[in-house]
Symmetry: C2
């Protein structure tokens, strides 16, 4: 029996699967996230959320390929990669593997030590960049990520506590494609972390249970704790907060998304500046200078690579 306290309901296994998939279908249809002819790239970490998402999308008959990004976080990354590969093999599904160290020359532990960003910030930036680039280069129509209701509520809390209106404006579960940015969707946004865990477990998915070992003290986790404390007293607050935002909040912020994108002079990916945040972060981590084709002495570029608070491509965590 699976209890869903905010719905004041309990389900047997098969009914829970049905309800879970219905919530995903509802999310997809409500935001016109995925079409039957779309080539979908699902970002998989080896954790419960992304593997549950992949599982549901395969069951629903979508054309979906997995994308696993190796972060180089020791045994945690090894197990994450294995879980993703085992799932793909088990379902006969396609999996693309990108490796930060092999393909971009750094891993996350090094990036966290060397760069000016926190480990979680540079990890999120790297993921968003690689997902978008891999999707564009592979000709995919849309990237789907496993963000659940808890993730979205915690991110929204963080964005709201700072009134980061541009980020609030962009926290829709479906962001349309624009200028070098592939469409992004979050089909699990109506489902809580507990629900995705129960679903993955009951579906017999062998996912990585442990948290990333570098995540300690992460702000996002503190926002989750705060939301969980409130949710414990008032079940339904998380859903009310995020779904209420979509219904009544988001429309008020629609003019706040004023970012104008151009191609990064180094990699060609979209950015609000001259070089994208990823290239700037990577240059800083590798101790390299960013030199665009038409700037031989690299002085401006070096200045930008030192910038401490560069503009993020997207708000929220990836």
């Amino acid at each position: 029996m699976i209890e869903v306290r905010r719905h004041n309901a309990a389900y047997c296994k098969e009914c829970f699967f049905h309800v879970f998939r219905e919530q995903v279908k509802r999310a997809i249809s409500q935001y016109d996230m995925l079409g039957t002819s779309d080539r979908i790239l699902v970002a998989v970490s080896g954790g419960k959320d992304s593997l549950a998402l992949w599982d549901v999308l395969l069951e629903l008959g979508y054309d979906v390929t997995g994308l696993y990004l190796g972060l180089g976080i020791g045994a945690y990354s090894t197990r994450s990669g294995e879980a993703s590969k085992a799932f793909a093999a088990d379902r006969g599904a396609d999996l693309i593997v990108v490796d930060l160290e092999r393909d971009y020359g750094y891993d996350i532990p090094t990036a966290g030590k060397r760069g000016s960003r926190s480990t979680c910030a540079v990890c999120g930036l790297s993921k968003r960049y690689v997902f978008n680039r891999a999707a564009l280069e592979g000709g995919y129509d849309v990237v789907a990520t496993g963000h659940n209701l808890d993730d979205e509520a915690a991110t929204l809390l963080g964005n709201t506590l700072r009134w980061q209106t541009e980020y609030i404006a962009r926290q829709s579960p479906a962001l349309p494609a624009k200028e070098g940015m592939v469409k992004k969707v979050k089909p699990l946004f109506r489902l809580s972390e507990l629900e995705t865990a129960a679903f993955a477990f009951l579906r017999g998915i062998d996912y990585v249970v442990e948290e990333c070992p570098l995540v300690g003290g992460n702000t996002q986790l503190r926002y989750k704790d705060a939301m969980n404390a409130i949710e414990a007293d008032s079940p339904g607050t998380k859903a009310q907060f995020f779904l209420g935002y979509l219904d009544r909040g988001l429309p008020l912020f629609r003019f706040e998304d004023t970012a104008v994108l151009a191609a990064c002079e180094n990699c060609g990916q979209p950015t609000t500046g001259r070089f994208c945040a990823f290239c700037r972060a990577r240059a800083q981590i590798l101790g390299e200078l960013l030199t665009p084709p038409d700037d031989d002495d690299g002085s401006v570029a070096a200045e930008m690579a030192d910038e401490v608070m560069p503009v993020e491509i997207f708000g929220g965590s990836a």
Copy 2:
């Protein structure tokens, strides 16, 4: 030495008084809250915030009268009334006393048991009503309340978690007068609860330290706990949240305040319905029917008095 962690500063007593008063002056001037010729009514509960506010306004030379509302909450109310009267006597200041039982026929413990609202909700409603009515009837220009930064941040969190856009639109520290509503201001909105407590203590104000005995489990307190947990990890979050709202959030909500007010058919105070929320709550508590002059059988009135979720006059706590 008084430490203010979010400002990363420490002050001696006299400097702290100066800084505290400067923050009040800044709030008053930023929102054009009070004029030197205004007749000001300050709502006093006998607690640290309202007595600190009264103290500062007297020191700054404003024409200010206290208003104490007796809630009938046993020994707590007795001590609150005594503290307010002692402060007034000590400063030679004027104090108006209104008593819910004597003047309106009920006390808060009874209201909490009999009505359909929670104790805190009916208490807040009663305060807002009495403050407004007393100010109008006494010819005061403005009501000042002792809401501090912690109060405002917690209220904003609650309003935001529910995306109550009309309430969010009205959480300005200064609400102008309109149609039967006297101007309301919160000159302490830039100061934290710790700061008002330190100020009241150091100024030798004999205030009631204990919390209201009926407040246990109050949602507002849970929001304060959540904010305090986040603040402990990231000092300055509360201030960033509320001041960021004033700066970047509030302007986006300005068209959400769509309430159209008319005179309550029973008492003449402003309301969005036929009878104001106070009269409906009071009728329910006293087991009376609301009968407007032109409605002899009282059927419509009785229906409204039974309404479970009436519209509040203002958002937030009072």
